[in-house]
């Protein structure tokens, strides 16, 4: 008998399940960090987590508010400089998964964290690229987790901060020495994966009690569904308990 759960918890648990013990994961702050640490505290205790502040193989007890909280450094195997992090460990090919969040994502999984509107006259100025542009190309594959809404899932992003498969789905073709790009997008409604041929994102699995219509209404393009559409397994009791404990510890720590 499983506990009651929210759609946000469904998203975090599903995102955590994408990680395995053998992966070395470069973790983005926010939802990816929550999912990555949930994985580490449940089914993947040996997953290697790396944050861009230079903390290698870190095991924080609470979720960091920033990518450089002291907790990350004190629980890490070692801490390296930021140039070393990006040049040796990321660009050097030691990261199997880049785990990213975003503000906008389009049908070819391009990510926008730069601005809404026109570059010279932005409606909303967002933080910018940070580590993501190179995480997305140097990691062997990329996982993305983000809440599903029409504002977020747009046909074309206003600005490609971080490449998925480019405006035409072909940006990675014939570029040597880069990773395969996004392989899965996990939202609070469903799981999406790129079509192997066109690279357009398709819904591969609906979360329990979510309908096709719910996903269509929350997506800014004519979203397509995989032929063998699955239903995502519900969160288990232990996953939910560990997630709630982690969030309670984190809330207590930061307030």
């Amino acid at each position: 008998m499983s506990l009651e759960y929210t759609s946000s918890e469904m998203m975090s648990v599903t995102a955590a399940r994408a990680l395995t013990n053998s992966m070395t994961c470069f973790v983005g702050i926010g939802l990816p960090s929550e999912a990555a640490n949930l994985a580490r505290l449940t089914h993947a205790p040996d997953v290697t987590l790396i944050y861009e502040s230079g903390t290698l193989q870190t095991k924080p007890d609470v979720l960091p508010l920033s990518i450089g909280d002291g907790e990350l450094c004190e629980s890490a195997l070692t801490t390296v400089s930021v140039p070393e992090m990006f040049r040796y460990w990321l660009q050097g090919g030691h990261v199997s998964v880049g785990f990213l969040g975003t503000v906008q994502i389009d049908r070819y999984a391009n990510l926008n964290t730069t601005l809404i509107g026109d570059y010279r006259k932005p409606k909303v100025r967002l933080p910018g690229g940070g580590g993501a542009p190179e995480i997305a190309t140097s990691a062997k594959e990329v996982f993305i987790t983000v809440k599903h809404s029409k504002r977020t899932f747009v046909k074309d992003v206003d600005f490609v901060t971080t490449v998925g498969f480019g405006r035409d789905g072909k940006a990675r073709d014939s570029v040597p020495n880069i990773g395969q790009g996004p392989t899965v997008v996990i939202t609070d409604l469903c799981i999406l994966k790129p079509d192997p041929e066109t690279k357009e994102l398709l819904v591969s699995s609906l979360h329990p009690n979510v309908t096709r219509e719910d996903v269509i209404a929350a997506t800014g393009w004519d979203i397509r569904f995989a032929e063998n559409l699955a239903t995502t397994p519900e969160p288990g009791t232990r996953e939910l308990e560990v997630l709630r404990d982690l969030k309670a510890r984190t809330h207590f720590h930061h307030n």
């Binding site: 040049r87 100025r125 933080p127 690229g129 490449v163």
Partner: protein
Amino acid sequence: MAEFLSLKEAVSRHINNGDTVCMEGFTHLIPFAAGHEIIRQEKQDLTLIRMTPDLVYDQMIGAGCAKKLIFSWGGNPGVGSLHRLRDAVENGWPNKLEILEHSHAAMASAYEAGAAGLPLAVLRGYVGSDLPKVNEQIKFIVCPFTGERLAAVPSVRPDVAVIHAQRADRKGNVLVEGIIGIQKEVVLAAKRSIVTVEEIVDDLGASVNACVLPSWAITAIAEAPKGASPSYALGYYDRDNAFYKEWDGIARDRETFQAWLQENVFEKGAA
């Protein structure tokens, strides 16, 4: 050899209006005390470079110190926007702010190239990104050995580097511990450097491979206890995450920001 100065004297003597200034510290060891002294001395027309502008540049931009910002991630980590930065970019308040943005990998490489005395940094970067369309500093070159297309950015070689560190010994050698970010690179890349420290001690207590900046590589050292707060100094105090959250409300509004600045920066002299 590094000269021991008061923070007031160090800023007054080594930072000029119009300078290019890098105040670094990747989440950790952010030189807030120095930033506040720059605001108090009403320095202007600075080109500010920093990977993550953070609250320190939000405050300096809101106070009117900057004409240009070069950065790679301009948010309040885990909280949201830097509202003073946004107000300057979106509305030109208190003055127009030119921005130039990179990715972290490019900026880290540019600092490293600056420290190495090179004119440019080369990286496998910006593939498929729109950033090269809006930043003319980003170019692409072809590797003469393999033919691979790679990104190139100019190295960072500022007039002044400002960093915070845990401690200096009485000769002026400085120890940086924990998340060392790009503290070493920025000091070596700059023409002049100011290092603020938590304390000055007889013995650094550094292990053999520790990150130590020798006295002869630093221009000035100023003692500034809690000089990185509300960021943190490993071994001394924690990051004040509650203040980072509170800042969102303070900075959202011009008047509350100015009141905060008056009370917490102008009316408080240098330590």
